[in-house]
Symmetry: C2
Subunit: 343 residues, 2 copies
DNA sequence: AAGATATGCTTAATCGTTTAAACAAAAAAA
DNA sequence: TTTTTTTGTTTAAACGATTAAGCATATCTT
């Protein structure tokens, strides 16, 4: 029942000619020296038999698969999902197929994915690297496999990357809270040592000290990626409980914001009257939140396009110098950071 | 600079033995007749050179890629995104890689994707078929390529599929509106002729007539997939404008619900007091909506698992009889369908 | 000791495609 | 007419892995 796909061989047999001739006609078109009559006939038979070239065989021969491996933290997170969609569409323009994988921020999983995709001979990688994956990235470079990092990068190894200015964005969005009169500003961030998170924290801390606001230790809540929800609630509790309870909070990612906002709801805190809020990222989820959020809007479209562009450049010419792209993000000011009216 | 991946040949040369011997050791393990000393040596060299088998070559030889093609309407739609994630994880358990594509509900795009994925020699397909793609599905079957349809199916061709009982779910969720005292119930659906949409409409119409409610023509708004937003607003306007303005509305998909709810917000209609609402699907987006929605909760997890399971069965044994799986969905009753208090 | 069996490895074909090189026949140049 | 060039097609090797079959040696049988 399982009919084999038709191959060049089948066409060759049908026409009564060698496989090579068929290949020349079908892959070279006018550039081959095959006679017009023969070309015509071959093309007709190919069409009749519904010939589709076997890309696996082409890949084996050419050593190139026109496929790129995309490793993200978590594809069910809207930030990454949207980024993935942009990358997929953009890659299609360059005639690349994308194969995805979610690392769940674990270096072990990221290693598995890299090995897996490498053995599938992807032509290059776009990776949002997880903590502790420097070696993996470095190893890829050693093997001469093109890699572009996205969203995060490692300052101590030289790679192509596309990021945003996390320090600057963080500074500006928190400055917005200060501008509107808030003085006791908490921040929820992840514990990991990834550079982009460090930069977001640095932005927060710098803008505080630039404004002579002395940060209380419990204001900065560090959450581990794995059991986030519990820790988020505990962190918010202690920010609100201290002798200097916060009047506003900065969420360093959209996931932190979603859980954080839900918890504030449970505590019956009204935004922005009881507590003002600013956040990184934006998602459909916030469209229905009762108070529009002041947030850092990352240029996903540009990031995705730049990453595919860079990767394509490097695949075409591995010797080009490092491409380090840092985009700036927009701070969108909405109601959630506005001045408390009742105080 | 571009170092070629190490192959069996490289190991063979290094050890001073034939390629076949290396292959036997690495792929057959203890079952080969290669001496322990030699096996040891080969394994050590393979490890030292960081050998990774070339899956492209294996695929060419075996004629199987351990890859499945997944074609969905739109991967940026949370319903499909979540379904995709379930399928990806489940497929991984069967040692399958998933390659995605979004058809955007267009038969032409779906055709392209099928051709593209076929030439990449996927072992099978999971497809949420778009309108007018019967021929494509049928052609795949003719070629003996395993296909499992998901979310929708075609009643006139015999395929494996996994769906939910759309008629039943629709009937039950609208019945909930009637139970809580609503009499003038609108519905927003898509125009397309796909079976699942027809069934949802049939459920709505049947429950109305079963309750002696005579439907006004403007109560059923049919929206085209492409320029949805405009049409949604127009349809809602006319539902509210007639001499029998609706007191409640049923959204046939989550996308319709999102746009519909936003528009109701613009019109300053409060849910459920001004208008009650029930919907198909659920998403993060609704978590922050002020009024929890009564909705049909599709068993995504089960659907995805069943689809992968079915496909795997058929790949293993193409001759098994048709697998038609119809799951039942849960109607989650929340506040949005509750009785109007002020009337 | 002679034949049978087991052991350990190699040869060669195969998957479907590409492409340099070879070759025969026809056309052009000498 | 002979040589050269062009035209149209075929041969064969290659990509990397798998695997049936082959072929020496070595080890058992009896």
């Amino acid at each position: 029942m399982k009919k084999k796909q038709v191959s060049l061989k089948d066409i060759a047999k049908e026409v009564g000619v060698s496989i090579a001739t068929v290949s020349y006609v079908l892959s070279k078109g006018k550039d081959s020296r095959v006679s017009d009559a023969m070309s015509e006939k071959i093309r007709e038979v190919a069409k009749r038999l519904n010939y589709q070239p076997n890309i696996i065989a082409q890949s084996l021969k050419s050593g190139t698969t026109n496929t790129i491996g995309l490793i993200l933290a978590d594809i069910s997170n809207p930030f990454f999902a949207n980024l993935a969609r942009v990358i997929e569409d953009e890659a299609a323009k360059y005639n690349y197929t994308v194969i995805f994988g979610s690392s769940d921020e674990k270096a072990t999983k990221s290693k598995q994915l890299i090995d897996f995709l490498s053995s599938r001979q992807v032509d290059g990688f776009i990776i949002a690297p997880s903590e502790g994956s420097e070696d993996q990235i470095h190893a890829l470079q050693q093997q001469g496999i093109p890699v572009v990092l996205i969203d995060r990068f490692f300052p101590n190894i030289s790679t192509d990357y596309v990021i945003i200015d996390n320090y600057e964005s963080s500074y500006r969005v928190v400055a917005e809270l200060i501008r509107s009169g808030h003085r006791r500003i908490g921040m929820l961030a992840y514990t990991d040592g990834l550079y982009h998170m460090q930069e977001r924290i640095r932005g927060y801390q710098t803008v505080l000290s630039d404004n002579q606001l002395v940060e209380a230790p419990e204001w900065l809540g560090k959450i581990s990626y794995t059991n986030g929800k519990k820790e988020i609630e505990a962190a918010i509790d202690s920010m609100l409980a201290g002798d200097k309870p916060i009047d506003s909070i900065f969420f360093a990612t959209n996931t932190l914001a979603i859980h954080g906002l839900k918890y504030l709801g449970k505590l019956n805190k009204k935004v922005p009257d009881d507590i003002a809020v600013v956040s990184f990222d934006e998602g459909e989820a916030f469209d229905f939140y009762y108070c529009p959020l002041t947030h850092v809007r990352q240029p996903l479209e540009e990031m995705g396009k730049a990453a595919v562009q860079s990767l394509s450049n490097r695949i075409k010419n591995p010797k080009i110098p490092q491409q380090a792209i840092c985009l700036s993000a927009e701070v969108v000011v909405r109601k959630s950071s506005s001045t408390t009216t009742s105080k």
